[in-house]
């Protein structure tokens, strides 16, 4: 029982971190059809900025999150203007893969040149560190915080996409960008806004998930595959898909690590192969024309 509860909390928290980071990538891949392997690199930039803000500028954790998200979006703007625009909705995945791997390498090199090649910790405020008693057991408060962040992210994204005018325009552009253009929706503005949203979510996830996925020099490369796998299993552009895939893969990975540590990764990727083979467009994805 005790073990099952530890697995459940850890898996849920891990899954939520995966969700917060990957949902940005998922939206981007659903709308712009860009296989953005550099998404993890932007999450890493967020983590480095937050670490710098807390440890060197001594600001509060919440301010640091805000600074990190805004800072990462500002950093990403030149990339969007100069590079990503060229590859939106291009059919050839090879070009996208190459360019975004290039961006990843570039960001890793520059970030480590500026901040130094070492593990960056993001100190938690007193409120979030330590355990929290939930009646029959105590669990780490930070885990609960991450889970709450994930739930809030999922709900507000659902509201944004289903209930607002921006969401309507976004869905129209996903379904048929040419038609949306013809109806007077400025798709390039929708693209830019979605890009900023996706990068911001990635940076947010990178900061709040730093306890679970530590911010280190090769963060962007190490988790590049994981984020892509989550999106591909869930189906690009689907909130439900990304959420269920994150939780499923989080559970598979965490359970594997607890119960059969020697073969954890093996089962993780075996699951991925089976799912992608059976559902090439992901669990909740749609085939694009």
């Amino acid at each position: 029982m005790r073990l099952a509860l530890s697995i459940a909390t850890d898996a849920l928290a891990y899954g939520m971190v995966l969700f917060i980071i990957s949902i940005g990538l998922s939206i981007m891949m659903g709308l712009m059809r860009v296989v953005n392997l550099a998404h993890g690199a932007f999450a890493m930039v967020g983590g480095y900025l937050a670490s710098y803000a807390i440890r060197d500028l001594h600001v509060h954790y919440s301010v640091a999150i805000l600074l990190a998200v805004l800072g990462t979006i500002i950093v990403s703007i030149p990339f969007e203007l100069l590079l990503y625009r060229r590859i939106y909705r291009k059919s050839d995945p090879l070009i996208q893969v190459l360019m975004t791997i290039g961006i990843t390498f570039f960001i890793i090199g520059v970030v480590n040149f500026i901040f130094g090649p070492s593990l960056k910790t993001i100190p938690l405020p007193a409120l979030l560190s330590g355990p929290l008693d939930i009646g029959f057991r105590s669990v780490p408060t930070h885990r609960l915080f991450v889970i709450a962040c994930g739930v809030v992210t999922a709900l507000s994204l659902w509201w944004l996409i289903e209930k607002t005018e921006f969401g309507i325009k976004l869905r129209a552009s996903v379904d048929h960008s040419g038609m949306a253009d013809a109806l007077g929706i400025r798709t390039e503005i929708i693209y830019a806004a979605t890009f900023a949203l996706a990068i911001g979510l990635g940076a947010f996830g990178g900061v709040v998930g730093a306890e679970i996925l530590p911010i280190e020099p090769f963060y962007a490369l190490r988790y590049m595959v994981t984020f892509l796998v989550v999106v591909s299993v869930g189906g690009a552009g689907s909130i439900m898909g990304a959420l269920s895939a994150s939780l499923l893969l989080g559970l598979a990975d965490t359970t594997g690590k607890y119960l059969a540590p020697e073969f954890g990764e093996f089962f993780f990727y075996l699951t991925v192969i089976v799912i992608v083979f059976l559902f090439p467009h992901g669990l909740f994805g749609r085939a694009h024309a």
Binding site: L228, F266, I273
Partner: protein, 332 residues
């Protein structure tokens, strides 16, 4: 596709060996330059040739069949481990080890090809990554067989043809690798101009049209994947023999990404492009990465972005255009 149909159809059932002969001579000349000018760096040059096989092998599936893969190191690594394990367990003849590597590479190639070639686009990419990571996880966890994260060491192959010993200056290893590179390169030049190779190009350019004229697309892609695995296997076995160790880096995701960069740098869809990319990338890496690995990453990143934006067909394309123009000028 029309371009190929009009210009590249073989006129006779067999083609003369002239072009392959020139290619072989060029490789031998390059090898001689390495042998005489850099006698102290032969170990590095041998490693370079080993990876060049992997780039050639990737070119067969990515450049000639249009399959985007980020898990190609699996074929290379599986062959390297197979040859290494066989060597540690007592088979020491280099040619036999090479054969084991080829068989292992081809097998892994056929299996992963059967999985990956079914799809296009994102599912294909993710499957290739997952297959690569699966092999990497196995190599890491089957510690009793592969040595796990310590790597498999103690690979001491016997003499080539029973005469030439693998020496510490890598002289034998270098010449052996170079000779096999020539053989493989000639064979591959024939393969890519054969009806089978041309049909693979056709599938790459327009698989729907290929299907419409009655081509069985999937089996061809799987066979090409098998061939590609065999070529990667040559490289894996040679690298295992010449370095004496097989580490987890030989199956890693980074290795797969790196060879894709090399291929695109040189120019996918040309065997010379693959070789040029492998050569240029690794020489630069040898010089810059030794100074500072992070500067190297920045540089590679900029290089990749530059290639995609300014020269999406690789460095070989301007050379080919120039050669084409020269030939035309002579004809008129």
């Amino acid at each position: 596709m029309t371009d190929i149909a009009l210009n590249r159809v073989p006129h006779r059932r067999s083609i003369a060996f002239a072009q392959e002969g020139l290619g072989a001579l060029a490789i031998v000349a390059l090898g001689a330059v390495g042998w005489f000018l850099f006698p102290d760096d032969l170990a590095f040059l041998t490693r370079l040739i080993g990876l060049a096989f992997l780039v050639l092998s990737l070119d067969l599936v990515t450049g000639y069949c249009g399959i985007a893969t980020l898990g190609h190191a699996a074929l290379f690594g599986a062959a390297a481990y197979a040859a290494g394990i066989a060597c540690v367990r007592g088979i020491t003849d280099p040619l036999a080890l090479l054969g084991i590597g080829i068989v292992a590479g081809a097998l892994v190639g056929l299996i992963s090809g059967a999985l990956i070639a079914r799809f296009r686009g994102l599912p294909q990419l993710v499957l290739s990554i997952a297959v690569g990571q699966l092999v990497a996880a196995l190599a890491n966890k089957l510690q009793w067989l592969t040595g796990g994260s310590d790597g498999l060491s103690g690979i001491a192959p016997g003499k080539v043809f029973g005469i030439f010993n693998f020496d510490m200056y890598s002289r034998t290893a270098f010449l052996f690798s170079l000779a096999i590179l020539v053989v493989v390169f000639v064979a591959l030049s024939r393969l890519v101009r054969s009806p089978f190779g041309l049909m693979c190009r056709g599938i790459k350019d327009d698989d729907l049209r290929a299907r419409m004229i009655g081509v069985a697309v999937y089996p061809r892609l799987v066979v090409m994947y098998g061939v590609s695995g065999a070529v990667a296997g040559v490289g894996g076995a040679l690298t295992a023999m010449s370095t004496g160790v097989v580490g987890l880096d030989s199956v890693s995701f980074e290795r797969s990404a790196e060879v894709l960069v090399m291929l695109v740098l040189g120019g996918a869809g040309h065997l010379w492009g693959a070789l040029a990319g492998a050569l240029i990338f690794q020489i630069f890496e040898h010089i810059v990465a030794a100074a500072n690995p992070f500067h190297w990453m920045t540089l590679v990143g900029l290089l990749l972005i530059g290639i995609v934006v300014f020269a999406p067909k690789g460095l070989i394309e301007p050379v080919l255009t120039l050669a084409h123009r020269l030939r035309k000028g002579r004809a008129s």
